[in-house]
């Protein structure tokens, strides 16, 4: 990773709520990449994003964004960050015009023309109250805001959840356009692994407040595999290769962490590529013991 600048760096970050704890979160997001932040509901994705944005205080550890430490006196960092939440957050009486008036007095680099161009492109009426917008329109409005102040980093928390496939695809295309610029980076949290499989360069899996896997998406997909065999044959498979297994009436399906080694060692078994969803489920099940 030498020579690559990390836009986001979390080093051993801890946040304890008593009934839930983010424990020693460490990962980084390289500049120019799309990082998919994957985990089931309640895994700690939103809490991690809130920590990155300094919306909540960490108990320990270090968080750096654009190389600068995130702390209460460093709100200026957020000038270069566009944020999209799972819910809109703007007052329902506000119109696109109202939002633009507010934003141009908040962001130094607010580009009014770009904002209205995005509204037009997303077919969002600028004079209609956003309370009357559908969920898809609300998400598009948030994206228009996030993209209209020349942000270099987009942080999005479940932006595609609850949207129909057509709108989701449209949004993925917008994100792809954003990362065409080399210095543009995206951190996208989702439990819809299909979207991340299309878009992400890096993935970070979180479960129960711990990072269970992080790395380049293609390498992870390349390495992991689904091994299928009979129950009798499964006992011969080395445990070091198996992350989790699932018994069914036809045999055993197991997630393996090195499918090429497994293929060479056990040529009689079937080993298929594992999609991100299966990798996530496999690691979550392994964690449950």
């Amino acid at each position: 990773m030498d020579g690559i600048n990390n836009v986001i760096e979390l080093d051993n970050v801890t946040k304890d709520y008593g009934d839930f704890k983010l424990d020693g979160i460490t990962f980084s997001v390289p500049e120019g990449s799309v990082c998919g932040f994957i985990g089931q509901n309640g895994a700690g994705k939103t809490t991690t994003i809130k920590l990155i944005l300094d919306m909540i205080g960490k108990d320990s550890g270090e968080i750096r964004v654009f190389g600068e430490s995130v702390c209460k006196n460093n709100a200026g960092i957020r000038e270069n960050i566009g944020v999209v939440f799972d819910e809109m957050g703007f007052h329902e009486f506000m119109t696109g015009r109202d939002i633009s008036i507010m934003m141009k007095n908040i962001y130094k680099n607010w580009d009014e023309k770009a904002f209205f161009d995005y509204l037009k492109r997303f077919s969002l009426p600028s004079r209609k109250k956003c309370g009357a917008f559908s969920r898809g329109m609300r998400m598009k409005l948030q994206i228009a805001v996030a993209l209209s102040h020349n942000a270099k980093l987009l942080i999005m928390d479940e932006p595609t959840s609850g949207l129909d496939p057509v709108v989701r695809n449209e949004m993925i295309n917008i994100f792809r356009e954003f990362v065409v610029e080399e210095d543009h980076t995206i951190l996208l949290s989702s439990h819809i692994t299909g979207d991340l499989e299309k878009l992400a360069d890096e993935v970070v899996f979180i479960d129960g407040g711990r990072i269970i896997l992080a790395g380049n998406k293609d390498e992870l997909l390349e390495k992991h595999g689904i091994l299928k065999c009979k129950k009798d044959d499964f006992g011969k498979i080395s445990r070091s290769l198996i992350i989790s297994e699932d018994y069914n009436e036809y045999g055993v399906q197991a997630l393996v962490n090195d499918r090429y080694s497994a293929n060479q060692l056990y040529p009689e078994t079937i080993i298929e590529p594992a999609p991100l969803e299966d990798i996530m489920i496999g690691y979550v099940n392994a964690g449950k013991g």
Partner: protein, 259 residues
């Protein structure tokens, strides 16, 4: 920060319309009241009160008249109290999450809230000062200085109330705005009782235990205090506002997500 003040004002669009009507209503009613006290039925009532054998002095009648006028003039300033709705609106929309992602430090986000509410109080006070200027040309019930003293006193009390509401809103979190309003009022009443406990006790003993009855001096004392000692309320208000801002900031920095 300016953007957040603009957003707060947008939130208060409905209340601002009401506010404009309140000011217009108060101007009309006050002028009618003053004209009536000079030339109309209220003037006749004043004369009748002096004629009847009911222990009322000319000062009592004058104070009675000014008391009613002062109550009218409270309205533009007191109506600002309702503008605390901006907290509810933010909570309902989930705007806190959005504002926390803005490049605006927490202290400025909090300051924006204070600026909005106190600017509106300032507008209410300014409207009252203009009204006072107009009224003191029409009546001799109160001089401009006395009007000004009352306006400063009432505005300062509303500043104290608003500063406490902001503090309690941040302390209790969203959805508890009504509690914040109750606690603010109770705190102000409690502070008044503690500070003036001796006086209140002696008034209580004189009226209810020694059964001396209610003398007009005791009754008009607060009105005179409002007219003449507005600066006392003003300095208390400045102190409470600074204290409220500092404590609110401290809480908001520890709790986050409340402003």
């Amino acid at each position: 920060m300016k953007g957040l003040v603009i957003k707060d004002i947008m939130c208060l669009k409905k209340q601002l319309t009401t506010f404009a009507f309140v000011i217009a209503g108060v101007v009309i009613v006050s002028v009618m009241y003053v004209l009536s006290t000079r030339f109309g039925n209220l003037a006749k009532v004043g004369v009748a009160l002096l004629d009847e054998n009911n222990n009322m002095s000319e000062i009592d009648v004058k104070n009675l008249g000014s008391m009613a006028l002062v109550l009218f003039m409270f309205l533009p300033i007191v109506s600002v109290g309702d503008m605390i709705n901006v907290f509810m609106a933010d909570g309902k929309a989930g705007f806190v999450k959005v504002s926390a992602s803005f490049p605006v430090p927490l202290k400025n986000r909090l300051l924006a809230r204070f600026i909005t509410i106190f600017s509106l109080l300032g507008i209410g006070a300014l409207a009252d000062i203009l009204l006072a200027g107009m009224l003191c040309m029409l009546t001799d019930i109160m001089s401009f200085g006395e009007f000004f003293g009352v306006i400063i006193s009432v505005s300062s009390l509303m500043c104290i109330y608003s500063a406490l509401v902001i503090l309690f809103c941040i302390m209790l979190g969203y959805g508890k705005e009504q509690y914040a309003q109750c606690f603010s009022l109770l705190s102000m009443v409690a502070a008044f009782i503690i500070v003036r406990f001796k006086d209140l006790k002696s008034v209580f003993i004189r009226i209810f235990i020694e059964e001396h009855g209610f003398d007009s001096d005791t009754f008009w004392q607060p009105l005179d205090f409002f007219k003449e000692k507005g600066y006392v309320f003003f300095f208390i208000a400045v102190f409470v506002m600074i204290l409220s801002y500092m404590i609110s900031l401290n809480i908001a920095e520890r709790k986050r997500g409340v402003i």
